[in-house]
């Protein structure tokens, strides 16, 4: 077991990279992927603390987060496909319309 700070730092780094991706990228698919990265960073924290405290509850929540990520990816990509079919773009700032 490494000191918990290392894990927190790793988690923070991944989270920040993910946040940068979400804010700056135009391609919605990449934005979604960045969100997956953020969720994953959270998972590292959960699992690391679960290991520190010797309590698997943290891992249970990590599982829930993975399930949530799956749901999010499915719906998000479904929306992207639907949008792409109509507008032929996957760029965020071209998706500004609320109707098509």
């Amino acid at each position: 077991m490494m000191p918990i700070g290392y894990y927190l730092f790793l988690s923070m780094a991944l989270f920040l990279i993910g946040a940068i991706g979400v804010i700056t990228r135009r391609n919605v698919i990449v934005v979604l992927m960045s969100i997956e990265l953020i969720l994953n960073a959270a998972n590292i924290n959960l699992v690391a603390f679960s290991r520190i405290f010797g309590d698997v509850a943290g891992q249970v929540f990590a599982l829930f987060i993975i399930a949530d990520a799956a749901a999010e990816a499915a719906v998000g990509l479904g929306i992207i496909i639907a949008f792409f079919r109509n507008r032929e773009t996957v760029l965020e700032d071209e998706m500004g319309l609320l109707k098509w």
Partner: protein, 172 residues
């Protein structure tokens, strides 16, 4: 020692490929680097003796979610996208938000160090050999204390599935 090597290896791979993921122009390359990050994170989980989360990460994230991503990228891959501006004009906002977040976490890390007795940079976890069998412990917890959240999660997945089908279906 070995722990350290493994951790730094995986952590390095994770951060490096995460950075590459955000900066690559080609969405497919981004996906590949995200897969690398996820696998490296899975390695971290294994180093934390969380075998079940490790394999769940491999099966669900890499074998499931990322396959879905690649599938969609294959379907919508527009070569035009490669020649367009890849970043939106929010660079400064991004920088600001990131710095703010980094500062927050930094302050948190730094201040918790000040608190005597907490000292979470000191390892105080149970030795690896004394941990209960991971899968069994996890299952016991999941189907006992967290049964309701588990069911809610499955309902969530069902809803997501229906939603995805409705979204992606061709309107004829």
């Amino acid at each position: 020692m070995l722990d350290k090597v493994i951790f730094f290896f995986f952590a390095g791979v994770a951060i490096l490929s995460a950075a590459l993921m955000v900066t690559r122009r080609n969405a497919m390359h981004s996906a590949v680097f995200l897969i690398t990050t996820l696998l490296a994170t899975a390695g971290i989980f294994l180093q934390l003796r969380a075998e079940f989360i490790f394999i769940a990460q491999v099966i669900l994230y890499v074998g499931g979610i990322m396959v879905l991503f690649i599938f969609v990228i294959m379907l919508v891959s527009l070569d035009v996208a490669l020649h367009q501006v890849q970043f939106s004009r929010q660079k400064w906002v991004a920088l600001f938000v990131t710095l703010a977040l980094a500062a927050e976490v930094g302050v948190m890390l730094w201040s918790s160090r000040q608190v005597p007795g907490q000292g979470f940079l000191v390892p105080n976890a149970m030795p690896a050999g004394k941990l209960p069998a991971n899968t069994e412990a996890l299952a016991g917890r999941l189907f006992d204390a967290y049964l309701l959240p588990f069911e809610i999660a499955s309902v969530l997945l069902l809803v997501a599935m229906v939603g995805a089908v409705v979204m992606a279906k061709k309107r004829t």
